[in-house]
């Protein structure tokens, strides 16, 4: 008996003996890059859903006619080598490259583009909102095998800014996998029919997603054929501490979800690089402008002048910049609005005196997403700042779905809600429209802001074809919004990733979502 026990113990110890330090994952001679991310990728159908992790995969598996690249982000030709629009921005013609092919060898032609846009519009999911108001499937015209024309229902200058998010699928593959006229939705959930630099390999939900590089990718590889990776493994690592551990051990080459303190601590670690870049995700404290005490513009101004804005940056250990207008700094058409409130207690009291609550004595709710530590800490800053105006703040954590539900109607929207908003195009319409009356009900419009002049300016600006005509309108829109103070304009936090120093080719572009990385140019420079 004793012998058996001893043998068992020895076997257990032997099997748990020190693991070799993690080396690069390899397939043959080529290395596999491991990305540690918090969020799963339940669906990769490019016309059904998107968020940062889904889009990172879609961007790797599919191509669009154009692609956002660089900082500041610019739209570059991709499947389309060039395009032109009519002076009224109503007709857009795209000329496709001739060497692009899908992973199964089929050419990427104008019919594939037409089918993909038709599919996106008819499914009425995911990206459909971007174009459904201006584009009808019947308005997409195949001019020849490599030319496609979009005849819009009305003039729409921001049209081109959405093109990078409309990925082209192979119609033959999709139709071959249709079930009950579902446009291949079931099949495309975990399969791809694209022409992108990677193909799907292993798809273990909630565990990992493995992509393999397309050997004969039509656009070639920016890091050179010799250096390109064999593939990418996107591994789900939910806890920041576990992400940090995986990076330190070399089990992950790049991670996206560390805490601000972790990023600061790890950036001085040998062999690890922290990427920190100002994105376009703005943080604002949205006032309910339609009901409750915050309906009073003087109270809103008083609060905006009482806030200690520097604290917003301190919450991120300095890895953030303050907003200088409702539009993020990286956005086309952004102008600094000098009238934007800065902390000034005297002015705050002045506005409070003009409000319906000259002595304060009120309680205001501040909602933030439960578990978002930074938003909670900003609530505490607010609590402290507003106590000087004799205003009490109830800092309330709430689950995101519940917060969205509450904020969708003026009657239920909290007095103040902390909201992060990421515009997904560089066209200013993407931000301006958040302040349009038509945006009510959306999470970014929890202010339920309504100014007829602003609405009219937004409507007009999106119909003009020339940027020179649009730019002054957007400058005016920004000033008017600041004057009405529908929110406390906060900060733009840096987007951060930590990676091993042997990982090369990281290219930041602010228009991508939080956490999203362009996997195409990445490579490992080590033996």
């Amino acid at each position: 008996m004793k012998k058996i026990v001893m043998l068992g113990l020895a076997a257990a110890l032997l099997s748990t003996a020190a693991l070799p330090a993690a080396a690069f994952e390899r397939v043959g001679d080529r290395k596999v890059i491991v990305f540690g991310g918090r969020q799963q990728v339940p669906v990769i159908d490019p016309h059904v859903r998107y968020d940062w992790s889904i889009r990172m995969m879609q961007q790797s598996l599919y191509d669009a006619m154009a692609k956002y690249n660089g900082n500041p982000a610019k739209i570059e030709p991709w499947l389309a080598q060039k395009w032109e629009s009519s002076p009224d921005a109503k007709t857009w013609t795209f000329h496709l490259v001739k060497n692009a092919k899908f992973h199964n060898g089929d050419p990427v032609d104008a019919e594939a583009v037409r089918y993909s846009f038709e599919r996106g519009l008819k499914l009425n999911k995911g990206v459909a909102w971007m174009l459904k108001d201006v584009l009808d499937p019947s308005g997409i015209e195949v001019v020849d095998a490599h030319t496609v024309r979009f005849n819009l229902k009305s003039s729409y200058a921001p049209f081109i800014s959405w093109i990078p998010w409309w990925y082209i699928v192979n119609p033959k593959q999709v139709k071959a996998n249709e079930v009950d006229g579902d446009y291949g939705q079931k099949w495309l959930t975990e399969n791809a029919a694209g022409s992108g630099p990677f193909k799907t390999k292993r798809w273990e939900q909630n565990v990992l997603y493995e992509l393999v590089a397309a050997d004969d990718y039509w656009k070639g590889w920016p890091q050179g054929e010799k250096n390109r990776p064999a593939g990418i493994i996107y591994k789900i690592i939910r806890e920041p501490a576990a992400q940090k551990a995986a990076l330190q051990r070399g089990e992950a080459d790049i991670v996206e979800g560390l805490t601000p303190d972790d990023y600061d601590q790890i950036k001085s670690t040998k062999g690890i690089v922290v990427q920190s870049h100002a994105g376009m995700t703005t943080f604002g404290i949205k006032f309910n402008t339609q009901t409750g005490p915050t309906k009073d513009i003087n109270l809103r101004k008083a609060i905006a002048y009482a806030v200690d804005y520097d604290s917003f940056v301190k919450v991120y250990n300095g890895a953030a910049i303050l907003e200088t207008s409702p539009f993020p700094q990286g956005m086309q058409g952004h102008v600094d609005v000098p009238e934007r409130p800065k902390q000034d207690l005297a002015k705050a009291k002045e506005y409070l005196a003009k409000s319906a609550y000259p002595n304060g004595g009120i309680e205001l709710d501040y909602y933030h997403v439960a578990g978002l530590e930074e938003a909670r800490r900003i609530g505490l800053v607010l609590l402290d700042n507003l106590s000087k105006l004799n205003i009490k703040v109830n800092v309330t954590p709430e689950q995101w779905p519940n917060m969205v539900a509450k904020g969708s109607k003026p009657d239920t929207a909290p007095n103040m809600t902390s909201v992060y908003v990421t515009p997904i195009s560089t066209d200013p319409d993407a931000v301006a429209y958040q302040y349009h009356r038509n945006a009510w009900g959306q999470y970014f419009a929890m202010s339920h802001y309504d100014n007829a002049d602003v609405n009219a300016l937004i409507d007009k600006a999106r119909t003009l074809g020339k940027w020179e005509e649009r730019a002054p309108l957007y400058a005016e829109i920004q000033k008017k919004i600041v004057a009405d103070q529908p929110e406390v304009f906060g900060m733009i936090q840096n987007r951060r990733w930590a990676h091993r120093d042997y990982l090369k080719g990281f290219a930041f572009s602010p228009v991508r979502f939080t956490g999203e990385v362009d996997l195409y140019p990445l490579w490992i420079d080590a033996k």
Partner: protein, 335 residues
Amino acid sequence: MVLFVGKRLVLFGFMLLGLLTIMFLITNVAPGDPAKLMAGQNATQDMVETIRREYGLDKSLPEQYAVYIGGVLRGDLGRSIVSTKPVVEELLRYFPATFELVLVAMGLGILIGVPFGMLSAVYRDSWIDHATRIFSVSGVALPAFWFGLLLQLYFAVHLEWLPVSGRLELITPPPEPLTRLYLIDSLLRGEFDTFREAFQHIILPALVLSFPCLASILRVNRAEMLEVLQSDYIVAARANGIPAFRIITVYALKNAMLPTLAIIGLRFGWMLGSTVLVETVFDWPGIGLYAVQSALYSDFKPVLGVTLLIGFCFIFINFLIDLAYGWLDPRLRTQ
């Protein structure tokens, strides 16, 4: 016996129906619109309606309930709005991982808890007893996620003995499924390297999960052993010169195991439900993680599915424990 089992089964069905009804109501009165969440942040109202129709969320609550219960009776637990897949398919995918983790954790709990409970009773108020008391109190008191992170930092990052998370190394393909329990499948397939990897990956999460259970088993077993060791029949056995080892392991332990068995049953169900934290910390792809991810998106069909499955397991295991009581205590059989 047949009547006993029959009665239990009917009760079993009613309990599950009650559980489902309560959970259905709770999940549906909770604020939050899953269709809106899935449609995306910028989706228009008609896009939200498209999704609502597709998943039957446009129907009234009683209609949704009737459709859901009808589906459950046919073995259809609905479709996840996040993954778009049938919940049954996903439970079959995730449950084996949880089951394997709980089995190993329970094994650890029993293998450590019972002998140490026994030892601390036999050597009452000695250093062994004090050490096991401290050990078991910390087992109940330590939060699982914190303990898990500590173990990760020490054994995975500092010592580099064990992996941080997951069930296997990234490049290792899972063994061809037979039972979907990697430890068993890899052994049956003769893939010993995979077995070694799977074993290394399960040690830390199983240890964290087993800790509170181990502590309860240890304390209950100790208390019962103390009581049994003072019984007349044990005194008689000693007087008859039966060796102490035999008295403790055969005569005393069997009777002391009755309440311990009840605790094991309860803890098994508890473990299934409490894998949530452990699975999150160790990225263990089981039903706990699946339930949490679904709840975060207000995707309630998977939450209901997981609840039903855990409820089923909990009731079933307690049913087995009832039967085991009969085996351990002949008096219960005659009753």
